[in-house]
């Protein structure tokens, strides 16, 4: 299947606080995410990584350029506002699951009903949707917590419910907006490994945002580094550390290997350079 998400020359410009002022949140972003890709976006705050995710999710529309999800391979016209392309992303949809930084679960539903929520919206019968929800709860290690209230769970468990909820809709891709950002270091490493395992088992396209360099290098198959003012992609690196972990190497061994550390320092230097620029 040649399904892919393509971002063509996308810019996001919105009016600033003062009249006449314009803020460029994203400028000229090009990115193709193919089936099986695990793309990690790394950058300081204000670099537009959440804006990029919101564009893919369809929560915001680009000021310029287009985003397609499907197998559209042809040329992209400069103005598609009048007649959207067949596969153009024009709003949120069940083909793109989103996991938020703060879980965004529904506290009036128990864990199982949260996970089955999307199926319920689609009118899937109760027994069937609970079976499917249970499958993904088991995948995220929460098989025993279906009847729990979400506000009784720890932060890490809430994020796992969020992942299970997104996966249950069987989306083409998962958009993860700093899902591990608010967790403690130990939980965070466990969930990194869990996410890699989920990716391997489900084969979903992944777009994962983080501001943690080590996490960024460990998680994906491709790393894009973003830079602020205006938000744009400045560097891209291929990654294989996550695959090495999935192949059986211990996570800490991967993260302390010389090539990991070397790349980490390179990336840190790039990001610090951005910071110096921004401060100047």
């Amino acid at each position: 299947m040649s399904l892919s998400l393509r971002i063509h020359d996308v810019s996001v410009i919105y009016p600033g606080r003062e009249p006449g002022q314009q803020v460029t949140a994203l400028s000229g972003v090009n990115l193709d995410i193919a089936a099986g890709d695990f793309v990690v976006a790394l950058g300081a705050s204000g670099c537009g990584k959440t804006t990029l995710l919101n564009l893919m999710a369809g929560f915001i529309q680009p000021s310029h350029g287009i985003i397609t999800l499907g197998n559209y391979q042809g040329e992209v016209p400069s103005d598609t506002r009048q007649a959207p392309l067949r596969d153009q992303v024009t709003g949120p949809g069940a083909d793109r699951g989103v996991v938020f930084q703060k879980h965004a679960l529904f506290p009036w539903l128990n864990v199982l009903d949260n996970v089955a929520f999307g199926l319920k919206l689609r009118g899937v019968p109760r027994k069937q949707r609970e079976e499917q929800a249970m499958h993904f709860l088991a995948l995220t290690g929460l098989a025993d917590f279906g009847k729990h209230a979400v506000y009784q769970l720890s932060g890490g468990m809430q994020q796992r419910v969020g992942m299970a909820r997104a996966l249950t809709n069987d989306p083409h891709m998962l958009l993860l907006d700093e899902p591990l950002g608010a967790l403690d270091a130990l939980t965070r490493e466990k969930l990194q490994e869990l996410l890699l395992n989920i990716w391997q088992r489900t084969g979903k396209m992944m777009f994962f945002i983080t501001h943690d360099v080590e996490e960024a290098l460990f998680m994906g198959t491709r790393l894009v580094i973003m830079s602020p003012r205006p938000g744009r992609i400045t560097h891209e690196f291929p990654l294989d550390f996550g695959r090495r972990f999935l192949a059986g190497e211990a996570a800490r061994a991967v993260k302390s290997s010389p090539d990991f550390i070397a790349l980490r320092e390179t990336v840190l230097a790039i990001i610090h350079g951005d910071h110096l620029e921004a401060a100047a």
Binding site: G93, A94, A104, F106, W108, F117, L121, Y151, R165, L175
Partner: protein, 312 residues
């Protein structure tokens, strides 16, 4: 509870180590005993806490015992004032007289209706108005929250009449609706409408945008998101609004029943005052107060049962 006081142990136990004083400050002689910090120093610090309490949090500890004590003292003073004849019974009848009236009015009635039927009429008016207000104000409030046009239309109306005391528009209600049951229910209804509508609107505004986004990315339609995300997310605020509205309605009741009613707690109190039956007046006030308290406790119970996630 000052756990600094250990009367049983401090006498026998060795003196606790004195905390080191800051360098340069002269020792405070003849101020405190060598074992305990000075009274002044003790008062300056927050009271130490029991397990499960936060040090320094304002208002730590249970207060229910003190509340019961206060009620007992007030009743005692009341009894004493009447027993010692400090006040004439016309102004303040004895607790026993008020209790006797409670029994008498329960059995034989006052102004052609028993206490239970007065309570029944009042409850009917309050709950009738409450049901009408919930059915209309909650949808209007939700609409105000989700729809710009609805907000633009309803906002000036609700915001204008909300701060008006119901007594101010009572004459108008009487001119329009006469002095029948409908004018009383309308008055209570109006008192309840604004807090309900505004709380429903605030509830809609309290939904996290991430929750709405999450539902859209699971394929939800606008209608589904309104029904399955916005409405349940607004429930805690709506229930708080219901509680406030019931309180408002109950306080408006007496005003509504001043308008030529033939039964009802407000009417009972008012007509008793015309006969200078102070004992019935006080009995009526106590009944109104106790019922309001029970109503509020019931609403709080409902809140705990229906929206256990509130504040979590």
């Amino acid at each position: 509870m000052m756990s600094l006081d250990h009367p049983d142990t401090t006498a026998a136990a060795p003196a606790p180590v004195k905390p080191a004083r800051a360098m340069g400050s002269p020792p405070l002689a003849n101020v405190s005993s060598p074992t305990a910090p000075s009274r002044f120093a003790r008062w300056r610090r927050a009271a130490s806490v029991k397990p499960g309490e936060q040090y320094g949090a304002p208002g730590n500890g249970r207060s229910s015992l003190l509340s019961l004590l206060t009620i007992a003292v007030l009743f005692g003073l009341w009894y004493l004032a009447t027993r010692m004849a400090w006040v004439k019974p016309l102004f303040l009848p004895s607790p026993a007289a008020v209790w006797q009236q409670f029994i008498d009015v329960s059995r034989e009635g006052f102004s052609d209706a028993t206490l239970l039927s007065h309570i029944g009429w009042s409850s009917l008016r309050v709950f009738g108005a409450f049901v009408l207000a919930v059915l209309t104000a909650v949808p209007v409030g939700i609409l105000m929250g989700v729809n710009r046009i609805a907000r633009g239309i309803f906002d000036p109306m609700v915001e204008f009449y909300r701060p008006l005391p119901p007594l101010a528009y009572l004459p108008l209600v009487v001119i329009w609706m006469g002095i029948g049951e409908s004018s009383k229910i309308l008055l209570i209804y109006l008192a309840m409408f604004a807090p309900l509508a505004l709380s429903a609107r605030a509830g809609v505004r309290s939904v996290a945008i991430e929750q709405i986004h999450a539902a859209y990315s699971m394929g939800g339609s606008r209608g589904q998101i309104l029904l399955r995300v916005i409405l349940p997310a607004a429930m805690p605020e709506i229930l708080t609004g219901m509680r406030i509205a019931l309180g408002f309605g109950w306080t408006t009741l007496v005003a509504a029943e001043m308008v030529a009613a033939t039964a009802g707690l407000g009417f009972m109190v008012l007509s008793a005052s015309k006969f200078l039956a102070t004992d019935v007046v006080i009995m009526g006030i106590l009944v109104i107060g106790v019922l309001a308290y029970v109503l509020d406790a019931g609403m709080r119970y409902l809140e705990r049962r229906l929206v256990p996630w509130k504040g979590k």
